[in-house]
Protein backbone atom coordinates (compact mmCIF):
# COMPACT_ATOMS: atom_id res chain seq x y z
CA UNK A 1 0.00 0.00 0.00
CA UNK A 2 2.71 2.48 0.95
CA UNK A 3 4.39 1.81 -2.36
CA UNK A 4 1.68 3.78 -4.07
CA UNK A 5 2.46 6.87 -2.07
CA UNK A 6 6.13 6.66 -2.88
CA UNK A 7 5.69 6.53 -6.63
CA UNK A 8 6.44 10.19 -7.20
CA UNK A 9 9.08 11.70 -9.40
CA UNK A 10 10.36 15.26 -9.26
CA UNK A 11 8.74 18.04 -11.29
CA UNK A 12 7.95 18.98 -13.99
CA UNK A 13 5.05 16.61 -14.36
CA UNK A 14 3.87 16.36 -17.91
CA UNK A 15 0.99 14.10 -18.65
CA UNK A 16 1.47 12.05 -21.76
CA UNK A 17 -0.66 9.33 -23.19
CA UNK A 18 2.27 6.97 -23.37
CA UNK A 19 2.53 4.11 -20.98
CA UNK A 20 4.94 1.19 -20.83
CA UNK A 21 2.45 -1.34 -22.20
CA UNK A 22 1.39 0.94 -25.02
CA UNK A 23 4.99 1.52 -26.14
CA UNK A 24 5.92 -2.13 -25.86
CA UNK A 25 2.93 -3.52 -27.70
CA UNK A 26 3.41 -0.94 -30.47
CA UNK A 27 6.95 -2.23 -30.95
CA UNK A 28 5.48 -5.73 -31.01
CA UNK A 29 3.11 -4.67 -33.76
CA UNK A 30 6.01 -3.18 -35.72
CA UNK A 31 7.87 -6.48 -35.59
CA UNK A 32 4.83 -8.53 -36.63
CA UNK A 33 5.48 -8.31 -40.41
CA UNK A 34 9.00 -9.67 -39.91
CA UNK A 35 7.60 -12.54 -37.84
CA UNK A 36 5.01 -13.38 -40.49
CA UNK A 37 7.73 -13.34 -43.13
CA UNK A 38 9.89 -15.71 -41.09
CA UNK A 39 6.86 -18.03 -40.91
CA UNK A 40 6.65 -17.89 -44.69
CA UNK A 41 10.37 -18.64 -45.08
CA UNK A 42 11.26 -20.93 -42.20
CA UNK A 43 7.89 -22.51 -41.57
CA UNK A 44 6.06 -23.21 -38.37
CA UNK A 45 9.16 -23.78 -36.26
CA UNK A 46 10.15 -20.11 -36.40
CA UNK A 47 6.76 -19.16 -34.99
CA UNK A 48 6.92 -21.92 -32.40
CA UNK A 49 10.32 -20.69 -31.28
CA UNK A 50 9.09 -17.12 -31.03
CA UNK A 51 5.93 -17.97 -29.14
CA UNK A 52 7.81 -20.18 -26.69
CA UNK A 53 10.38 -17.46 -26.02
CA UNK A 54 7.75 -14.77 -25.51
CA UNK A 55 5.71 -16.90 -23.11
CA UNK A 56 8.78 -18.10 -21.25
CA UNK A 57 10.04 -14.53 -20.86
CA UNK A 58 6.72 -13.58 -19.24
CA UNK A 59 6.85 -16.60 -16.94
CA UNK A 60 10.39 -15.67 -15.86
CA UNK A 61 9.35 -12.06 -15.34
CA UNK A 62 6.36 -13.09 -13.24
CA UNK A 63 8.48 -15.42 -11.11
CA UNK A 64 11.08 -12.70 -10.50
CA UNK A 65 8.45 -10.12 -9.63
CA UNK A 66 6.90 -12.56 -7.19
CA UNK A 67 10.27 -13.21 -5.52
CA UNK A 68 11.03 -9.50 -5.42
CA UNK A 69 7.58 -8.85 -3.90
CA UNK A 70 6.57 -6.55 -6.75
CA UNK A 71 3.13 -6.52 -8.39
CA UNK A 72 3.13 -9.70 -10.48
CA UNK A 73 0.60 -8.11 -12.81
CA UNK A 74 3.46 -6.09 -14.38
CA UNK A 75 4.56 -9.12 -16.34
CA UNK A 76 1.80 -8.17 -18.79
CA UNK A 77 3.38 -4.78 -19.55
CA UNK A 78 4.98 -6.23 -22.67
CA UNK A 79 8.58 -5.44 -21.78
CA UNK A 80 9.45 -9.04 -20.92
CA UNK A 81 7.46 -10.32 -23.87
CA UNK A 82 9.40 -7.99 -26.16
CA UNK A 83 12.69 -9.23 -24.73
CA UNK A 84 11.62 -12.81 -25.45
CA UNK A 85 10.60 -11.84 -28.96
CA UNK A 86 13.94 -10.17 -29.64
CA UNK A 87 15.91 -13.15 -28.29
CA UNK A 88 13.94 -15.41 -30.61
CA UNK A 89 14.58 -13.01 -33.51
CA UNK A 90 18.33 -13.22 -32.85
CA UNK A 91 18.90 -16.96 -33.05
CA UNK A 92 19.07 -19.30 -36.04
CA UNK A 93 15.73 -21.01 -36.68
CA UNK A 94 17.17 -24.51 -36.42
CA UNK A 95 18.53 -24.12 -32.87
CA UNK A 96 17.27 -26.63 -30.25
CA UNK A 97 14.38 -25.00 -28.45
CA UNK A 98 15.84 -25.11 -24.95
CA UNK A 99 18.76 -22.90 -25.91
CA UNK A 100 16.83 -19.73 -26.76
CA UNK A 101 14.70 -20.45 -23.68
CA UNK A 102 17.87 -20.39 -21.60
CA UNK A 103 18.93 -17.18 -23.34
CA UNK A 104 15.54 -15.66 -22.57
CA UNK A 105 15.85 -16.65 -18.92
CA UNK A 106 19.32 -15.09 -18.69
CA UNK A 107 18.03 -11.93 -20.37
CA UNK A 108 15.02 -11.49 -18.11
CA UNK A 109 16.32 -12.84 -14.80
CA UNK A 110 19.98 -11.83 -14.75
CA UNK A 111 20.27 -8.85 -17.06
CA UNK A 112 16.97 -7.20 -16.21
CA UNK A 113 15.58 -8.31 -12.85
CA UNK A 114 18.87 -8.76 -10.99
CA UNK A 115 19.68 -5.16 -11.85
CA UNK A 116 16.37 -3.90 -10.50
CA UNK A 117 13.75 -4.63 -13.15
CA UNK A 118 12.22 -2.46 -15.84
CA UNK A 119 14.29 0.65 -16.53
CA UNK A 120 17.26 -0.31 -14.38
CA UNK A 121 19.18 -2.59 -16.71
CA UNK A 122 22.50 -1.34 -18.06
CA UNK A 123 22.59 -3.58 -21.11
CA UNK A 124 19.97 -4.56 -23.62
CA UNK A 125 18.63 -7.83 -22.16
CA UNK A 126 17.89 -9.54 -25.47
CA UNK A 127 21.38 -8.84 -26.77
CA UNK A 128 23.07 -10.20 -23.66
CA UNK A 129 20.83 -13.24 -24.12
CA UNK A 130 22.21 -13.57 -27.63
CA UNK A 131 25.82 -13.00 -26.53
CA UNK A 132 25.36 -15.63 -23.81
CA UNK A 133 24.09 -18.13 -26.35
CA UNK A 134 26.82 -17.33 -28.85
CA UNK A 135 29.54 -17.86 -26.24
CA UNK A 136 27.88 -21.02 -24.98
CA UNK A 137 26.80 -22.79 -28.13
CA UNK A 138 29.01 -21.48 -30.91
CA UNK A 139 28.20 -24.45 -33.11
CA UNK A 140 24.42 -24.15 -32.89
CA UNK A 141 24.47 -20.37 -33.06
CA UNK A 142 26.46 -20.28 -36.27
CA UNK A 143 24.99 -23.10 -38.29
CA UNK A 144 22.56 -21.76 -40.82
CA UNK A 145 20.26 -23.34 -43.27
CA UNK A 146 18.75 -21.70 -46.26
CA UNK A 147 15.07 -21.12 -45.60
CA UNK A 148 13.07 -23.03 -48.14
CA UNK A 149 9.98 -21.12 -49.10
CA UNK A 150 7.09 -22.83 -47.34
CA UNK A 151 9.46 -25.73 -46.83
CA UNK A 152 10.99 -27.47 -43.92
CA UNK A 153 14.42 -26.00 -43.15
CA UNK A 154 15.57 -28.97 -41.04
CA UNK A 155 16.34 -30.99 -44.14
CA UNK A 156 18.17 -28.14 -45.83
CA UNK A 157 21.93 -28.21 -46.21
CA UNK A 158 24.04 -26.07 -43.93
CA UNK A 159 25.18 -22.88 -45.64
CA UNK A 160 27.05 -19.68 -44.89
CA UNK A 161 25.18 -16.42 -44.33
CA UNK A 162 25.87 -13.64 -46.84
CA UNK A 163 28.15 -12.01 -44.25
CA UNK A 164 29.88 -15.33 -43.63
CA UNK A 165 30.43 -15.67 -47.37
CA UNK A 166 31.95 -12.21 -47.49
CA UNK A 167 34.24 -13.04 -44.58
CA UNK A 168 35.41 -16.35 -45.98
CA UNK A 169 35.48 -15.81 -49.71
CA UNK A 170 35.29 -12.06 -50.29
CA UNK A 171 33.19 -10.22 -52.87
CA UNK A 172 33.66 -12.87 -55.53
CA UNK A 173 32.07 -15.63 -53.43
CA UNK A 174 29.16 -13.30 -52.77
CA UNK A 175 28.60 -12.51 -56.42
CA UNK A 176 28.86 -16.16 -57.31
CA UNK A 177 26.19 -17.13 -54.78
CA UNK A 178 23.73 -14.43 -55.78
CA UNK A 179 24.36 -14.25 -59.51
CA UNK A 180 24.45 -10.50 -59.87
CA UNK A 181 24.63 -7.40 -57.69
CA UNK A 182 21.07 -6.39 -58.48
CA UNK A 183 19.58 -9.72 -57.50
CA UNK A 184 21.74 -9.72 -54.37
CA UNK A 185 20.25 -6.41 -53.20
CA UNK A 186 16.73 -7.60 -54.01
CA UNK A 187 17.17 -10.97 -52.28
CA UNK A 188 18.62 -9.35 -49.17
CA UNK A 189 16.06 -6.57 -49.04
CA UNK A 190 13.09 -8.90 -49.21
CA UNK A 191 14.71 -11.89 -47.50
CA UNK A 192 14.05 -14.20 -50.40
CA UNK A 193 16.04 -16.76 -52.39
CA UNK A 194 19.68 -16.81 -51.36
CA UNK A 195 18.97 -13.86 -49.02
CA UNK A 196 16.66 -15.95 -46.85
CA UNK A 197 19.34 -17.11 -44.52
CA UNK A 198 20.10 -15.79 -41.07
CA UNK A 199 18.45 -15.34 -37.69
CA UNK A 200 14.70 -15.80 -37.33
CA UNK A 201 13.83 -12.12 -37.43
CA UNK A 202 16.51 -10.43 -39.48
CA UNK A 203 16.09 -11.82 -42.96
CA UNK A 204 13.84 -9.22 -44.56
CA UNK A 205 15.39 -5.75 -44.43
CA UNK A 206 12.40 -4.05 -46.05
CA UNK A 207 9.82 -5.40 -43.57
CA UNK A 208 12.03 -4.35 -40.66
CA UNK A 209 12.46 -0.93 -42.25
CA UNK A 210 8.67 -0.64 -42.54
CA UNK A 211 8.31 -1.57 -38.89
CA UNK A 212 10.94 1.00 -37.99
CA UNK A 213 9.17 3.72 -39.98
CA UNK A 214 5.93 2.84 -38.24
CA UNK A 215 7.65 3.37 -34.87
CA UNK A 216 9.09 6.68 -36.12
CA UNK A 217 5.69 7.91 -37.22
CA UNK A 218 4.10 6.87 -33.95
CA UNK A 219 6.85 8.77 -32.13
CA UNK A 220 8.06 5.72 -30.19
CA UNK A 221 11.62 6.17 -31.42
CA UNK A 222 13.42 9.19 -32.84
CA UNK A 223 15.34 9.09 -36.11
CA UNK A 224 18.71 9.89 -34.54
CA UNK A 225 20.02 6.47 -33.54
CA UNK A 226 18.93 4.38 -36.54
CA UNK A 227 19.96 6.97 -39.11
CA UNK A 228 23.37 7.70 -37.59
CA UNK A 229 23.92 3.95 -37.05
CA UNK A 230 23.13 2.93 -40.62
CA UNK A 231 24.70 6.02 -42.19
CA UNK A 232 27.98 5.53 -40.31
CA UNK A 233 28.02 1.84 -41.23
CA UNK A 234 27.42 2.61 -44.91
CA UNK A 235 29.89 5.50 -45.11
CA UNK A 236 32.72 3.72 -43.31
CA UNK A 237 32.16 0.59 -45.38
CA UNK A 238 32.29 2.74 -48.52
CA UNK A 239 35.51 4.46 -47.37
CA UNK A 240 37.16 1.08 -46.92
CA UNK A 241 36.09 -0.04 -50.41
CA UNK A 242 33.23 -2.22 -49.24
CA UNK A 243 29.68 -2.34 -50.51
CA UNK A 244 27.64 0.15 -48.41
CA UNK A 245 24.21 -1.07 -49.52
CA UNK A 246 25.14 -4.68 -48.79
CA UNK A 247 26.42 -3.64 -45.36
CA UNK A 248 23.09 -2.21 -44.22
CA UNK A 249 20.87 -4.80 -45.89
CA UNK A 250 22.70 -7.86 -44.59
CA UNK A 251 22.84 -9.46 -41.16
CA UNK A 252 21.16 -7.79 -38.23
CA UNK A 253 21.86 -4.17 -39.19
CA UNK A 254 18.19 -3.18 -39.72
CA UNK A 255 16.91 -5.11 -36.72
CA UNK A 256 19.67 -3.73 -34.53
CA UNK A 257 19.42 -0.13 -35.69
CA UNK A 258 15.64 0.25 -35.40
CA UNK A 259 14.66 -2.13 -32.63
CA UNK A 260 17.60 -2.81 -30.33
CA UNK A 261 19.91 0.20 -30.34
CA UNK A 262 16.83 2.37 -29.77
CA UNK A 263 15.81 0.65 -26.53
CA UNK A 264 14.82 3.57 -24.30
CA UNK A 265 16.50 2.25 -21.18
CA UNK A 266 19.90 1.60 -22.66
CA UNK A 267 20.34 4.50 -25.08
CA UNK A 268 21.30 8.15 -24.37
CA UNK A 269 18.68 10.70 -23.35
CA UNK A 270 19.54 13.62 -25.60
CA UNK A 271 19.39 13.74 -29.38
CA UNK A 272 23.04 14.77 -29.57
CA UNK A 273 23.95 11.81 -27.40
CA UNK A 274 21.87 9.51 -29.57
CA UNK A 275 23.77 10.65 -32.66
CA UNK A 276 27.08 9.81 -30.96
CA UNK A 277 25.63 6.46 -29.80
CA UNK A 278 24.50 5.55 -33.34
CA UNK A 279 27.85 6.63 -34.76
CA UNK A 280 29.68 4.37 -32.28
CA UNK A 281 27.40 1.42 -33.07
CA UNK A 282 27.93 1.81 -36.81
CA UNK A 283 31.68 2.17 -36.50
CA UNK A 284 32.06 -0.81 -34.16
CA UNK A 285 29.81 -2.95 -36.34
CA UNK A 286 32.05 -2.23 -39.30
CA UNK A 287 35.24 -2.89 -37.31
CA UNK A 288 33.98 -6.23 -36.00
CA UNK A 289 32.68 -7.32 -39.40
CA UNK A 290 35.88 -6.36 -41.21
CA UNK A 291 38.61 -7.30 -38.75
CA UNK A 292 36.92 -9.26 -35.96
CA UNK A 293 36.62 -12.99 -35.49
CA UNK A 294 32.88 -13.07 -36.19
CA UNK A 295 31.21 -12.28 -39.50
CA UNK A 296 28.48 -10.23 -37.76
CA UNK A 297 29.08 -7.51 -35.18
CA UNK A 298 25.77 -5.67 -34.68
CA UNK A 299 24.93 -7.20 -31.31
CA UNK A 300 28.37 -6.70 -29.76
CA UNK A 301 28.66 -3.15 -31.05
CA UNK A 302 25.33 -2.21 -29.45
CA UNK A 303 26.33 -3.88 -26.17
CA UNK A 304 29.65 -2.03 -26.09
CA UNK A 305 27.89 1.25 -26.77
CA UNK A 306 25.32 0.44 -24.04
CA UNK A 307 28.21 0.53 -21.60
CA UNK A 308 29.19 4.03 -22.72
CA UNK A 309 25.71 5.53 -22.35
CA UNK A 310 26.34 7.10 -18.91
CA UNK A 311 29.51 8.71 -20.28
CA UNK A 312 27.71 10.03 -23.35
CA UNK A 313 24.89 11.37 -21.20
CA UNK A 314 27.40 13.15 -18.98
CA UNK A 315 29.25 14.59 -21.96
CA UNK A 316 26.34 16.13 -23.81
CA UNK A 317 23.83 16.76 -21.04
CA UNK A 318 21.42 19.59 -21.75
CA UNK A 319 22.03 22.87 -20.01
CA UNK A 320 19.84 22.96 -16.97
CA UNK A 321 17.19 25.63 -17.39
CA UNK A 322 18.11 28.77 -15.48
CA UNK A 323 21.84 28.19 -15.23
CA UNK A 324 24.35 30.30 -17.14
CA UNK A 325 26.11 29.48 -20.32
CA UNK A 326 29.52 27.91 -20.07
Amino acid sequence: MENKLLKLSSSPHIRSGDSVPKVMWTVFLALLPALIWSYVIFGLMAVKLTVVCVLFAMVCEAACLKIRKQPVKSCWDGSAALTGLLVAFNVPPTIPLWMPMLGTAVAVVIVKQCFGGLGCNIFNPALIGRAFLLASFPKHMTSWTLGAQFGNPVDAVSQATPLGLLKEGGQEALLEAFGSKGSMYLDLAFGYGRGAIGCVGEISAVLLLLGGLFLLIRGIISWHIPISFLLTLAVVTFLFKGDPLFAILSGGAMLGAFFMATDMVTSPLTHKGQLIFGFGCGLLTFIIRRWGGYPEGVSYSILIMNATVPLIDGLVSNRVFGTGKK
Binding site: M99, L102, I110, F132, A135, S136, F137, P138, H140
Partner: protein, 197 residues
Protein backbone atom coordinates in the same frame (compact mmCIF):
# COMPACT_ATOMS: atom_id res chain seq x y z
CA UNK B 1 34.87 -17.11 21.70
CA UNK B 2 35.21 -20.85 22.09
CA UNK B 3 37.91 -22.66 20.14
CA UNK B 4 35.37 -24.63 18.14
CA UNK B 5 33.59 -21.45 17.11
CA UNK B 6 36.92 -19.97 16.07
CA UNK B 7 37.31 -22.88 13.70
CA UNK B 8 33.73 -22.80 12.49
CA UNK B 9 33.46 -19.11 11.65
CA UNK B 10 35.55 -19.41 8.48
CA UNK B 11 33.16 -21.95 7.03
CA UNK B 12 29.90 -20.05 7.17
CA UNK B 13 29.71 -16.82 9.12
CA UNK B 14 32.91 -15.26 7.80
CA UNK B 15 33.53 -17.41 4.74
CA UNK B 16 36.57 -15.81 3.10
CA UNK B 17 35.25 -15.99 -0.45
CA UNK B 18 31.52 -15.57 -0.06
CA UNK B 19 31.43 -13.08 2.82
CA UNK B 20 34.81 -11.37 3.10
CA UNK B 21 35.28 -11.42 -0.71
CA UNK B 22 38.95 -12.29 -0.34
CA UNK B 23 41.05 -14.44 -2.65
CA UNK B 24 38.79 -13.90 -5.64
CA UNK B 25 41.55 -14.14 -8.23
CA UNK B 26 42.41 -17.81 -7.53
CA UNK B 27 38.73 -18.57 -6.97
CA UNK B 28 37.77 -17.31 -10.41
CA UNK B 29 40.86 -18.69 -12.13
CA UNK B 30 40.87 -22.25 -10.82
CA UNK B 31 37.17 -22.95 -10.47
CA UNK B 32 36.84 -24.08 -14.08
CA UNK B 33 37.24 -27.71 -13.10
CA UNK B 34 36.80 -29.61 -9.87
CA UNK B 35 40.26 -31.14 -10.07
CA UNK B 36 41.99 -27.76 -10.16
CA UNK B 37 39.68 -26.27 -7.55
CA UNK B 38 40.24 -29.03 -5.01
CA UNK B 39 44.00 -28.94 -5.58
CA UNK B 40 43.99 -25.20 -5.08
CA UNK B 41 41.77 -25.45 -2.00
CA UNK B 42 43.99 -28.05 -0.33
CA UNK B 43 47.13 -26.02 -1.03
CA UNK B 44 45.52 -22.93 0.45
CA UNK B 45 44.53 -24.87 3.59
CA UNK B 46 48.13 -26.00 4.06
CA UNK B 47 49.69 -22.60 3.44
CA UNK B 48 47.10 -20.71 5.47
CA UNK B 49 47.29 -22.94 8.54
CA UNK B 50 51.07 -22.92 8.71
CA UNK B 51 51.44 -19.23 7.90
CA UNK B 52 48.94 -18.40 10.66
CA UNK B 53 50.88 -20.54 13.16
CA UNK B 54 54.29 -19.12 12.23
CA UNK B 55 53.11 -15.54 12.19
CA UNK B 56 51.40 -15.96 15.53
CA UNK B 57 54.66 -17.36 16.92
CA UNK B 58 56.86 -14.55 15.63
CA UNK B 59 54.39 -11.74 16.27
CA UNK B 60 55.99 -10.61 19.52
CA UNK B 61 59.38 -9.80 18.08
CA UNK B 62 58.39 -8.46 14.67
CA UNK B 63 58.28 -4.64 14.84
CA UNK B 64 54.92 -3.38 13.61
CA UNK B 65 56.47 -1.09 10.99
CA UNK B 66 58.00 -3.95 9.02
CA UNK B 67 55.39 -6.60 9.76
CA UNK B 68 54.08 -6.79 6.18
CA UNK B 69 57.46 -7.66 4.59
CA UNK B 70 58.02 -10.22 7.35
CA UNK B 71 54.64 -11.84 6.73
CA UNK B 72 55.27 -11.88 2.99
CA UNK B 73 58.58 -13.69 3.48
CA UNK B 74 56.88 -16.31 5.63
CA UNK B 75 54.05 -16.77 3.16
CA UNK B 76 56.34 -16.87 0.14
CA UNK B 77 58.49 -19.45 1.91
CA UNK B 78 55.50 -21.71 2.58
CA UNK B 79 54.12 -21.31 -0.92
CA UNK B 80 57.46 -22.23 -2.46
CA UNK B 81 57.64 -25.30 -0.25
CA UNK B 82 54.15 -26.40 -1.31
CA UNK B 83 54.99 -25.67 -4.93
CA UNK B 84 58.15 -27.77 -4.81
CA UNK B 85 56.46 -30.62 -2.98
CA UNK B 86 53.64 -30.77 -5.51
CA UNK B 87 56.04 -30.54 -8.45
CA UNK B 88 58.10 -33.36 -6.97
CA UNK B 89 55.47 -35.75 -5.76
CA UNK B 90 52.34 -34.93 -7.77
CA UNK B 91 53.61 -33.88 -11.21
CA UNK B 92 50.19 -34.23 -12.86
CA UNK B 93 48.59 -31.83 -10.40
CA UNK B 94 51.52 -29.48 -10.76
CA UNK B 95 51.02 -29.45 -14.51
CA UNK B 96 47.42 -28.37 -14.05
CA UNK B 97 47.65 -25.82 -11.24
CA UNK B 98 51.39 -25.10 -10.88
CA UNK B 99 50.86 -21.60 -12.20
CA UNK B 100 48.22 -20.82 -9.61
CA UNK B 101 50.13 -22.21 -6.65
CA UNK B 102 52.66 -19.43 -7.04
CA UNK B 103 49.80 -16.97 -6.95
CA UNK B 104 48.86 -18.04 -3.42
CA UNK B 105 51.62 -15.65 -2.27
CA UNK B 106 49.40 -12.74 -3.19
CA UNK B 107 46.14 -14.45 -2.20
CA UNK B 108 44.58 -11.84 0.05
CA UNK B 109 43.03 -14.47 2.32
CA UNK B 110 46.47 -15.41 3.61
CA UNK B 111 47.86 -11.94 4.21
CA UNK B 112 44.43 -10.84 5.38
CA UNK B 113 44.21 -13.53 8.06
CA UNK B 114 47.83 -12.94 9.07
CA UNK B 115 47.18 -9.26 9.59
CA UNK B 116 43.67 -9.44 10.98
CA UNK B 117 43.91 -12.54 13.14
CA UNK B 118 47.21 -14.36 13.53
CA UNK B 119 49.08 -11.22 14.58
CA UNK B 120 46.68 -10.72 17.49
CA UNK B 121 46.04 -14.26 18.75
CA UNK B 122 47.90 -17.24 20.15
CA UNK B 123 49.17 -20.00 17.84
CA UNK B 124 46.37 -22.48 18.69
CA UNK B 125 43.62 -20.01 17.85
CA UNK B 126 45.58 -18.88 14.78
CA UNK B 127 45.89 -22.46 13.58
CA UNK B 128 42.18 -23.11 14.06
CA UNK B 129 41.34 -19.87 12.29
CA UNK B 130 43.61 -20.78 9.38
CA UNK B 131 42.19 -24.28 9.12
CA UNK B 132 38.60 -23.03 9.25
CA UNK B 133 39.19 -20.26 6.73
CA UNK B 134 41.02 -22.69 4.45
CA UNK B 135 38.17 -25.19 4.60
CA UNK B 136 35.71 -22.36 3.98
CA UNK B 137 37.73 -21.44 0.90
CA UNK B 138 37.77 -25.05 -0.27
CA UNK B 139 34.01 -25.38 0.17
CA UNK B 140 33.25 -22.12 -1.63
CA UNK B 141 35.57 -22.84 -4.55
CA UNK B 142 34.22 -26.40 -4.82
CA UNK B 143 30.64 -25.16 -5.03
CA UNK B 144 31.55 -22.67 -7.73
CA UNK B 145 33.65 -25.24 -9.59
CA UNK B 146 30.86 -27.83 -9.43
CA UNK B 147 28.35 -25.43 -10.94
CA UNK B 148 30.81 -24.33 -13.61
CA UNK B 149 32.14 -27.71 -14.59
CA UNK B 150 28.77 -29.46 -14.66
CA UNK B 151 26.98 -26.71 -16.58
CA UNK B 152 29.90 -25.57 -18.69
CA UNK B 153 31.63 -28.80 -19.61
CA UNK B 154 29.03 -31.42 -18.66
CA UNK B 155 31.65 -33.00 -16.45
CA UNK B 156 32.51 -33.40 -12.79
CA UNK B 157 36.06 -34.32 -11.86
CA UNK B 158 36.50 -35.00 -15.58
CA UNK B 159 33.64 -37.53 -15.70
CA UNK B 160 30.73 -36.95 -18.02
CA UNK B 161 27.48 -36.15 -16.19
CA UNK B 162 24.74 -36.40 -18.80
CA UNK B 163 25.93 -38.19 -21.93
CA UNK B 164 25.01 -36.40 -25.12
CA UNK B 165 24.03 -33.07 -23.62
CA UNK B 166 25.39 -29.83 -25.08
CA UNK B 167 26.91 -27.96 -22.14
CA UNK B 168 26.54 -24.20 -21.66
CA UNK B 169 30.05 -23.25 -22.77
CA UNK B 170 30.06 -19.77 -21.29
CA UNK B 171 30.11 -21.12 -17.74
CA UNK B 172 33.64 -22.42 -18.23
CA UNK B 173 34.82 -19.03 -19.49
CA UNK B 174 35.77 -16.12 -17.18
CA UNK B 175 32.33 -14.55 -17.67
CA UNK B 176 30.74 -17.71 -16.29
CA UNK B 177 33.07 -17.56 -13.27
CA UNK B 178 31.89 -14.08 -12.31
CA UNK B 179 28.27 -15.02 -12.98
CA UNK B 180 28.43 -18.15 -10.83
CA UNK B 181 30.31 -16.36 -8.08
CA UNK B 182 27.66 -13.64 -7.90
CA UNK B 183 24.80 -16.11 -7.84
CA UNK B 184 26.39 -18.37 -5.19
CA UNK B 185 27.07 -15.31 -3.05
CA UNK B 186 23.45 -14.22 -3.45
CA UNK B 187 22.18 -17.64 -2.41
CA UNK B 188 24.39 -17.55 0.69
CA UNK B 189 23.07 -14.12 1.58
CA UNK B 190 19.48 -15.29 1.24
CA UNK B 191 20.15 -18.31 3.47
CA UNK B 192 21.95 -16.13 6.02
CA UNK B 193 19.01 -13.74 6.14
CA UNK B 194 16.58 -16.61 6.60
CA UNK B 195 18.67 -17.91 9.50
CA UNK B 196 18.87 -14.51 11.14
CA UNK B 197 15.08 -14.21 11.25
Amino acid sequence: MSLFKEFLKGIWEKNPVLVLSLGLCPTLATSGSMKNAVGMGLSVIAVLTFSNIIISLIKSFVPSKIRIPCYIIVIAFLVTVVDMLIAGFAPELSKAIGLFIKLIVVNCIILGRAEAFAAKNNPLRAALDGLGMGIGFLIAISIIATVREVLGANKWFGLTVVPGWDPIGIMILPAGALLTFGLVMAVRNVLAQRRAK
